[in-house]
Symmetry: C2
Subunit: 494 residues, 2 copies
């Protein structure tokens, strides 16, 4: 796909600012200098073939010369063929000049410098269904936001209307009641993590293993030391948290351990918080998809148990669209001033219009209605995944409970299966990449999302996966945790 | 000002997700567990006084229990007074429960944690007049943007439509023709600088002295070594650029040296580029206000002279509003892949809707028309500043040529003058803060902006400044450069 500006910009822009600089002390008459400048601007592509030049009167005023001076220059250029004058139209750059100068270079849809492979069916996890986002509530929210004045003073943590709406959102959807002064607006989950690391100064960070590769990349970019924290079927193994030289921060997914979906039980939650308090560790709760749970209610947020030690990382990327680039952080009290200082120095990345629009969309109930619709879609699709991939021998298919992705495990070579899918136009994520450390030998497979594609593409993708993985009957159930020895657990493929 | 959600959210949100978790293995009947959960949720503020609870049917389905179980729990709570049932209405939390639980905490407009002083008249520099931004073209641009689908694939450097519009904008307003594949969308000037430093890995950065304090704060935040580069009336003194151990990058304002307004002449531009090529230094051209020049045409961008060594940092903060949090960078060719990699890991901070809206606003000519209106306002205001502050003895008032701010210099104690203005509700910026190193002794004064306030506030602010600085006649002219010995230059105040 090639994008081009489709509007007749020239007609609508009231004045051309030609970067012509006259030097009255230099050799060369003023008309000659003007003519030479216009030749140069045309040859270098600043003025384009067919484009009108300013009237002699306008250019004369602009340059502070007499109109006659400009007329002499234009006559010279007309004689040379650089300009053409057509009766009834403005004098223009000769439209017959080489077309190489005329058209602006096009931007390829995915950037020309490093062509990215565009899969035909993109089943990489983490993308929600976005087809129904831009509906009437969405458009109304932006309309309200665009009509509001822009020159208002906005607090460093974000527009108060959005922060209040986030508090209400968390109260209703997560049963978590927090103070709006602890809520900071972010440009999404990764930006929120970056902000927390910056403000806290944490450089030594524990992550669940396996866990989100995208958050680990943020840590790499901040030159943090990354420490693997072991997990099992119930999420983080809190008995294995380091008691000597603990990290400065840990990133955890208590609601839905990623990618295996375990929920951190209340005793482990309390143990984690007790450990964090004892060592002064910042707990970063990545609450990436709790609002979308369609199978069971998530446990209350960890952040609701401790306002001093836990930061909750929220995003609208999963509930709405990653293209919104908006999220929030509920800050532990001691970090509020430091986050304000970072924002004061580096700026708020989310535009005020966007903040107002999201606030309006939340307050009008638009997000809640959209979320309800999406829960129904995802529940149906999860059943579709289970049905489509049933009966494959040696293959374990584990659609996450209430989530948007499924883990597929097998005992073949991971790379060759993923490559085979890619050759058929299907993109999935390697299971091995979810480990910060070396993945256990039994962990071979891939993760695929069933949220971000059309019904037709999902059906085709599932058929392709089924055909690629072959015909032996599979087991459907909980994913095999790396902590169970292969073959030892009853639900492990043999 | 206190913000509160003004809408009746409850009526519009279709379903309450009560975070109730039943434990069938624990002691306590299921109705008792439900009742205890609702008491706890009410006491902790998750459920609010007067708020309806789900119907017994809905909650039963939600919890997977019989409807009778919920009715028993509700009857218990009705008997205890936690719930009230009014004929014709939904069963609700008792509205007479202590009001302390009922109202969400309010957000103060400027953040309660660290109250910021709000000046009555904010003349700190760097803010444009924003009253007329949210006009019909602006609203139309957002309407178009909000109606577009969100689930599209966007290149890492930004939406191609905006990048093409930026190319056209630079071509017409700056006479600079660049390839759209070198344009990256940013969340503003500071985010763009941060992105460039991150992608280039530059940790040792030269800055003009004096120069923008806000860009220096970005360098501090990235733990960069900051090196002062001397300037004079014509901007950066290129003969003093370090030949041994040069910095990895330099930030320059060739169009309009900040805050004194000098323009870097063509011989210095060429010398700077020659030096940068010789040492492999990245030149970051901060083109912060060229589009607004109303007095004379800016020289062509430095970036137009070298596509390999220069990055141009652009922003819509000055032409439109800082609240848009949108800008762009024209990248030197060798940095394109590295910037894509940073965006791939950390995400694009500017929402797709914002990118589309800005593109539409540019392509429709809205920005060009707004810029023209603002140029007229600023030209008039500059004259107003000159007239209002004429005739003050021992005071030099130097409104920047074509800019939005003026430098006021005097030989009194800088702090006491600025404090006196602050006591009268007027915020200005200390001239001393523009130096990365110790400012020369002669540099006492303040910088004030005349863009971001109303006509009435500007008039009052100027009267206050005049009254505070006293009655001796002043000189109006070019600011006194630190490179001229006090009293030695003919235009220096005695």
């Amino acid at each position: 796909m090639v994008y081009q500006l489709e509007r007749g910009i020239m007609r609508q822009v009231p004045e051309v600012a030609l970067p012509i600089v006259l030097d009255r002390t230099a050799g060369g008459s003023l008309p000659n200098q003007i003519a030479e400048s216009i030749r140069h601007l045309t040859a270098s592509g600043v003025l384009r073939a067919g484009e009108p030049v300013p009237s002699s009167r306008a250019l004369a005023r602009h340059l502070g010369v007499s109109r006659g001076t400009v007329i002499v220059a234009y006559d010279q250029l007309l004689a040379e063929g650089w300009l053409v004058a057509i009766a009834g139209s403005a004098t223009s750059i000769n439209p017959q000049l080489p077309r190489a100068w005329a058209a602006p270079p096009a931007v390829s849809a995915r950037g020309a410098s490093r062509p990215q492979e565009v899969p035909r069916i993109d089943l990489r996890p983490g993308r929600p269904l976005q087809d129904e986002v831009a509906g009437p509530s969405w458009r109304a929210a932006w309309r309200v936001a665009a009509a509001a004045p822009v020159g208002v003073s906005v607090p460093l943590l974000g527009w108060p209307g959005l922060r209040a709406a986030v508090v209400e959102h968390l109260r209703r959807l997560r049963g978590f009641n927090c103070e709006p002064d602890r809520v900071a607006v972010t440009a999404g989950g990764r930006e929120g993590l970056s902000l927390l690391l910056h403000a806290s100064g944490a450089k030594d960070v524990g992550v669940e293993d396996p866990g989100f590769p995208s958050l680990r990349r943020v840590l790499h970019r901040r030159n943090a030391i990354i420490r693997s924290l072991p997990t099992d079927d119930q999420g983080l193994v809190t008995t294995k948290l380091p008691e000597t030289e603990p990290p400065e921060a840990v990133i955890v997914t208590p609601a839905h351990q990623y990618p295996f979906g375990g929920t951190l039980h209340i005793d482990r939650r309390l143990a984690l918080l007790e450990w964090a308090r004892r060592h002064g560790v910042l707990v970063i709760e990545d609450d990436y998809d709790s609002e979308l749970r369609y199978a069971s209610e998530p446990l209350p947020a960890l952040a609701s148990l401790d306002a001093d030690q836990v930061a909750l990382l929220g995003t609208f990327s999963k509930t709405l669209t990653p293209a919104l680039a908006t999220g929030f952080v509920v800050l532990p009290r001691h970090l509020v001033a430091a986050v304000e200082a970072v924002r004061g120095d580096l700026g708020q990345p989310v535009s005020l219009v966007t903040q107002r629009a999201v606030a309006e969309y939340l307050a009008s109930g638009g997000l809640a209605r959209h979320t309800q619709r999406m829960r129904r879609v995802y529940r149906r699709r999860r059943n579709q995944v289970v049905a489509a991939l049933a009966g494959l021998t040696g293959v374990r298919v584990s659609p996450m409970d209430g989530g948007l992705h499924a883990v597929v495990q097998f005992d073949r070579d991971e790379r060759s299966v993923i490559d085979a899918l890619r050759m058929q136009g299907l993109a999935v994520a390697s299971l091995g990449e979810y480990w910060a450390s070396e993945p256990p030998g039994s962990q071979r497979g891939f993760v695929f999302g069933f949220g971000g594609v059309s019904d037709a593409d999902l059906a085709e993708g599932l058929a392709t996966i089924r055909a690629t993985l072959g015909g032996r009957p599979s087991t459907i159930g909980r994913p095999a945790s790396p902590h169970r020895a292969p073959g030892a657990a009853p639900d492990q493929p043999s």
